[in-house]
C-alpha cells in the first residue's frame, strides 16, 4: 500500500517536472526567438527603406550624424579610457582595503546606475550653462565619459586582480619599482581584457541618446570643405553642435510632417546602430576569446 501511494506521488511529481520543463523551454525559446526577430526586423526594415541619398552627408542622409557619432565616441574614449584605467589601477594596486575603498566602490556603483538623463542634465549644467557655451560635441563626449567611466574602471580593476600573483612578484623580485611593474608587466598582461571593456563602453556610447539631448545638441551644420578647426562648421571642431545617430532617431519621431523621409531615415539609422552594436559585441567576443586562447584558459 505504502508502495503504491509512493508510486502515485512519484508519477505526479514527474508529471509536474515534465510540464515545468516544457514551460521553461517554451518561455526561454520564445524570448530567444523574439529577440532575434526583433533584431532581424530592425535591420531588414532599415534596409528595405533604403535609398541612395541616405548615405549622403546632407539633410536627406545620415552621413553627418554617423560621423558625429563616431567622433563623439572617440572623444569620449580619449577622456574616459586614461581616467578609468588609472582609477582601476588605483583600486587594484594602490588603495588599501577599508572604508575609503568601500566608499569609492559605492561611488562607482552609483555612477553606473545613474540614469543617463540625469548625467545629461549634469553635463548640461556644468559643460553648457556654467561655461556659457552652446551645445557641443565635447560636452556630449564628457557626459558619455561619465557613463563609461565605471565600466572601464571596474574592468581594469578586475583584470589586474585576476592576474596570477607571480607576475607581480616576479617583477618586484627583479628590483623593478611598483610603477615599472604596473606599466611594463601588469598592464600589458591584461590589455586584452581592458580592450574588451573599452569596446563594450564604445558600443554603449554609440547608442546613448538621453545624455546627449542637452549636451551635444540636436542640430548639425557641417561644411565638409572647411578644415579650419576653429570654425563652427568644420567637421573636426569638437566645440560645434553635433547630433548623433540615436538622437537623430529621437528627432525624426516628431518630424514626420516636415520631412516625408523621416520614417525611412529613422529606420535606417536604427538598422545602422543595431549593426554597429552587433559588430562591437562580436569584436569584444573575439578579443575575449583571443585572451583565453593565448593564456590557454589559465586566466
Amino acid at each position: 500500500m505504502h508502495n503504491s501511494a509512493m508510486k502515485k506521488r512519484i508519477a505526479k511529481a514527474k508529471a509536474v517536472d515534465s510540464v515545468m520543463t516544457k514551460l521553461f523551454y517554451l518561455i526561454g525559446s520564445f524570448f530567444l526567438v523574439f529577440l532575434l526577430v526583433l533584431a532581424g526586423y530592425i535591420i531588414v526594415k532599415g534596409i528595405l527603406g533604403f535609398y541612395p541619398e541616405l548615405l549622403t552627408f546632407s539633410s536627406k542622409g545620415i552621413g553627418n550624424q554617423f560621423f558625429n557619432t563616431i567622433y563623439l565616441v572617440f572623444l569620449s574614449l580619449v577622456i574616459s579610457v586614461p581616467l578609468g584605467v588609472a582609477a582601476g589601477i588605483y583600486m587594484a594596486e594602490y588603495s588599501r582595503d577599508g572604508k575609503f575603498l568601500t566608499f569609492l566602490r559605492i561611488c562607482i556603483e552609483s555612477l553606473s546606475s545613474l540614469p543617463s538623463i540625469v548625467v545629461g542634465l549634469f553635463g548640461y549644467l556644468v559643460f553648457i550653462l556654467l561655461t556659457g557655451a552652446k551645445w557641443n560635441l565635447m560636452a556630449g563626449a564628457l557626459a558619455v565619459s561619465i557613463l563609461s567611466l565605471p565600466l572601464i574602471t571596474t574592468t581594469t580593476e578586475d583584470a589586474i586582480r585576476s592576474l596570477p600573483k607571480g607576475f607581480k612578484e616576479g617583477s618586484m623580485a627583479l628590483g623593478a619599482t611598483k610603477w615599472r611593474t604596473i606599466s611594463k608587466v601588469l598592464l600589458p598582461a591584461c590589455l586584452p581584457r581592458i580592450a574588451t571593456g573599452v569596446i563594450l563602453a564604445a558600443g554603449r556610447g554609440f547608442g546613448e541618446a538621453a545624455a546627449l539631448l542637452y549636451t551635444a545638441g540636436q542640430s548639425t551644420i557641417i561644411n565638409w570643405s572647411n578644415w579650419d578647426v576653429t570654425s563652427s562648421t568644420c567637421p573636426l571642431n569638437p566645440f560645434r553642435p553635433g547630433e548623433t545617430l540615436s538622437l537623430h532617431i529621437w528627432a525624426m519621431r516628431t518630424e514626420g510632417s516636415l520631412n516625408p523621409n523621416a520614417p525611412a531615415i529613422a529606420n535606417f539609422s536604427a538598422a545602422v546602430l543595431v549593426i554597429m552594436v552587433l559588430a562591437f559585441s562580436l569584436l569584444a567576443r573575439i578579443t575575449a576569446r583571443r585572451i583565453s586562447k593565448k593564456s590557454g584558459g589559465q586566466i
Binding site: M6, K7, R9, I10, K12, A13, K14
Partner: protein, 254 residues
C-alpha cells in the same frame, strides 16, 4: 557465504565507462540486508563510482555508459525502476556535509514534503523522530528554526543523515561520510551507523581501514576498477586471500 541473511543488492558483471575510460571492470557481488558493507581501496579505485551506481547518481553525469545488472530486491534498478523512486529507497549521504541553506527543521522536512506530506503535526513528528534516530535531537532541538549552516561540520553531517532518514529509505549509501570531520564527530557517526543497521542496510565508502574494520560486517576491496576481494570483515582483515589485499590493509601502498 552466509545465506541466512536476505540479499538486498545483487550486482552482476557490472562495467562502467567514463567516455573511453573503464572505471569499473566486471564487478559482481551481493550486499545483504541490515548489514554494513564497507567499500575500501586507494583513491581512484572505483569505490565511490560503484556506490553512485547503486542509486543511479551516475545518471546525472555526462558520458557514462554502464553494462551489467544491479538488482535491488530482485528488481533491475536500471531497467525496471525509475531513478526518482530508486533514490527514495536508496538514499545517499555525501563526503562533504551538504545541508541546504535553510533551517534545521526545513532540511529534515524536505524529503517528506516532496513526498506530499503537508500536515504540520505529521511533519513535526517525522522531523523529531529522524533527528533522534540520527542522535542529534538533543543538540538542535532548541534551534530547529535557525539556519543549518550554523551547525558544526559533525552536526551538519548527522543532520544530513537525519534528512536522509526522514525519507524512510531502505538503504543508506555513505560516501566517505567522516573524511571531513574531526575524530569525535567521526566516532559519533560510526556509532550512529552501527545503530542504524538494525533497521537499514548501509553501504559505506571509506579510505579509513580502521573504520571499515570497526563498523562493517563485510568489506569489499577495490583496486583499479576491479573488485579484488569481498568477504566478511573479520575474515578479510585477518586472513586476506589475495596478496594485494594484504598489502593494502597492512598499509604497504594506498
Amino acid at each position: 557465504m552466509d545465506t541466512t541473511k536476505n540479499i538486498k543488492f545483487n550486482v552482476q558483471s557490472l562495467n562502467l565507462f567514463y567516455g573511453d575510460f573503464q572505471a569499473l571492470k566486471d564487478i559482481s557481488f551481493t550486499i545483504y540486508e541490515n548489514e554494513i558493507t564497507a567499500l575500501i581501496g586507494p583513491s581512484g579505485c572505483g569505490k565511490s563510482t560503484f556506490l553512485k551506481t547503486l542509486n543511479r547518481m551516475n545518471d546525472l553525469e555526462p558520458n557514462v555508459t554502464l553494462h551489467g545488472s544491479i538488482q535491488l530486491d530482485s528488481q533491475d534498478i536500471n531497467k525496471d525502476m525509475d531513478a526518482i523512486e530508486l533514490r527514495k529507497r536508496v538514499s545517499m549521504v555525501f563526503q562533504q556535509p551538504n545541508p541546504f541553506p535553510k533551517s534545521v527543521y526545513e532540511n529534515v522536512a524536505y524529503g517528506p514534503r516532496i513526498n506530499g506530506i503537508r500536515k504540520k503535526a505529521q511533519l513535526d513528528e517525522i522531523v523529531e523522530h529522524s533527528l533522534r534516530q540520527a542522535a542529534i535531537w538533543e543538540e538542535v532541538k532548541d534551534r530547529l528554526h535557525k539556519s543549518a549552516l550554523g551547525l558544526s561540520g559533525g552536526q551538519q553531517q548527522r543532520l544530513c543523515i537525519a534528512r536522509t532518514l526522514a525519507l524512510e529509505p531502505e538503504v543508506i549509501l555513505m560516501d566517505e561520510p567522516t573524511s571531513a570531520l574531526d575524530p569525535i564527530s567521526t566516532m559519533k557517526i560510526e556509532d550512529l551507523a552501527s545503530e542504524l543497521k538494525k533497521n537499514y542496510t548501509i553501504v559505506i565508502v571509506t579510505h579509513n581501514m580502521q573504520q571499515a574494520s570497526r563498523i562493517s560486517d563485510r568489506t569489499a576491496f577495490f583496486l583499479l576498477g576491479n573488485l579484488v576481494e569481498y568477504d566478511t570483515t573479520i575474515k578479510l582483515f585477518s586472513q586476506p586471500s589475495d596478496k594485494k589485499t594484504e598489502e593494502y590493509i597492512t598499509g604497504r601502498f594506498g
